[in-house]
Amino acid sequence: MAVIRREAVFSNKLLPYLLVAPQLVLTGVFFLWPAVQALQQSVMKSDPFGIRTRFVGWENFKALFADPLYLGSIRLSFVFAGAVAFLAMSLALFLAVQANRQLRGSQIYKTLLIWPYALAPAVSAVLWVFLFQPSIGVVSLALQGLGIPWDYHLHGGQALLLVILASVARQISYNFIFFLAGLQAVPKTLIEAAMIDGASSRRVFWSVVFPLLTPTTFFLIVMNTVYAFFDTFGVIDALTKGGPGKATETLCYKVYLDGFRSFRINSSAAQSVVLMAVVILLTAFQFKFLQRRVHYEGGG
């Protein structure tokens, strides 16, 4: 497919600048300038009253990576993101495969699986607190009835599990939408051909359908990691506030705590820069791969 280089339709000199101006001004004021400030603060150190500031180079980063609490938070964030992405994606894929069959009422099922996308992570967490609150929640009472000492205010492992499950529940809808769209794009003739060759439906799925979903899967891995790292802030804030102890204090929640609760500005800025590196890697990964997909589409 030849790339057609478009010529300009209009030749106004000033107008295009006016058109991009609103978005550029906001980008500069609220994105680029603060990001530069964060970079700058991450290599400075202020006294507690913010009166004097001096350049310290890598010191904040060295301190960060020597801090067992920070290393713990890194480990926790990866376990958390891995669990959320894996559970939310595999459950969504399974459900999308079911919903993609010729079922009676499949539109109703789709709606029933998509609506949770409307819930803010924090609001979804409020619903979960009501189920799992140790002394009044119906699910926790049922668990205690079975002899399980459920109290996520005390047990770090339970708190983490709860935060993971609450984050997964909402994200299933998002993944479901994409997997279903991906499945619907798989040519029926391809599946029929494999069936005629005598492949079992399980075999058809893993060797014909799933490979065709690779672009969707990669895209969702990135999106779910971003979701788990950043968008679950509300879930954690509503459910556990990072506790008990540091059991659910992910990198993102720690940036907030250190910056706005403990006022450790420079450490928080250094943590921001680490997160920035994570996002840049994820975005680069996504776009490298996206280009490949464009290539496939062009070639096909």
Partner: protein
């Protein structure tokens, strides 16, 4: 015969889908039940699984006052207006700015065009969490704390929107605009009477996605608003929840949750087709 065998084969699929749907709906069902009892019944840890008699009272109280004996919250009517204002402003603002920027990038050639496009693109890599303290400082220096402008303006930058409209505009036949130009239409006239009407499906799809996105914001409102009058739904509900002790007005919290959920959930259910289209298009 063949049909009967086929519907038999579909039973497991029905079962899995129904169970998943029920599990996802269960928290909402229990929240609804909680919103129909009195605080004492819930606080004793003996809440029945069927509705109680306090529905009307709880909803009226949550709607008008948001405050009970052991909960001091913001009235639902205030939170709803705040969230609605925020969501609409963010959705419309994002669309407005990204349409203009994409229009300039696609239909004009001007120095720094690519540079500007990249500046907007870079914002994808700068979520709030990586510039949290300086962003707050900028907003407070500009006296934007506790204002709707402060709540929404920083959220209106949209690299995804700009990318999406760029794709849409690139796929439009250039001849349409050339013809209009010959008829004497200027660039803004062309945008308004040709480009926008042709982009209607994408506009609708992006609006639904961005409305839900705007409604669900949490961290920025948490930082930028400090008064109850400015509480959005998510902030207000978590504030009501407090430390989630057993003895509090769970009935009011749940009534507030159910009422406020109704808005984004209806949007997603009624405009599902557009939501799906929008998400998938952005993902491309």
């Amino acid at each position: 015969m063949k049909k009967a065998r086929k519907s038999l084969a579909n039973i497991p699929a029905h079962l899995f889908l129904a169970v998943a749907a029920a599990l996802l709906a269960f928290p909402v069902y229990m929240a609804f039940i909680g919103s129909t009892h009195d605080a004492a019944t819930i606080g004793r840890g003996r809440m029945p699984l069927t509705p109680g008699a306090y529905l009307g009272q709880n909803y009226v109280q949550a709607w008008a006052y948001g405050t009970g004996e052991r909960v001091s919250g913001t009235p639902v009517r205030v939170m709803m207006v705040n969230s609605l204002t925020m969501a609409l402003a963010i959705a419309l603002g994002k669309i407005f700015m990204s349409v203009l920027a994409a229009y300039a990038v696609v239909f004009f050639r001007f120095p720094l065009r690519n540079f500007f496009f990249w500046l907007i693109f870079i914002t994808l890599m700068l979520p709030l969490e990586v510039r949290i303290i300086p962003s707050y400082k900028v907003a407070s220096d500009l006296k934007l704390v506790n204002t709707f402008l402060g709540l929404t303006l920083p959220m209106m930058v949209s690299a995804t929107g700009t990318l999406l409209f760029r794709q849409v505009f690139l796929s439009m036949p250039k001849e349409l605009l050339e013809a209009a130009k010959i008829d004497g239409a200027g660039p803004l006239r062309c945008l308004w009477s040709i480009v926008l009407p042709l982009s209607r499906p994408s506009l609708a799809a992006l609006f639904v996605v961005m409305f839900v996105y705007g409604w669900n914001q949490y961290l920025w409102p948490l930082l930028i608003t400090t008064t109850r009058q400015m509480d959005t739904v998510a902030i207000g509900l978590v504030r009501m929840l407090g430390t989630s002790e057993s003895l509090m007005d769970w009935n009011l919290v749940m009534a507030a949750t159910i009422m406020t959920m109704a808005v984004p959930v209806s949007v997603v259910i009624l405009l599902q087709r557009w939501l799906v289209k929008g998400l998938v298009e952005i993902g491309k």
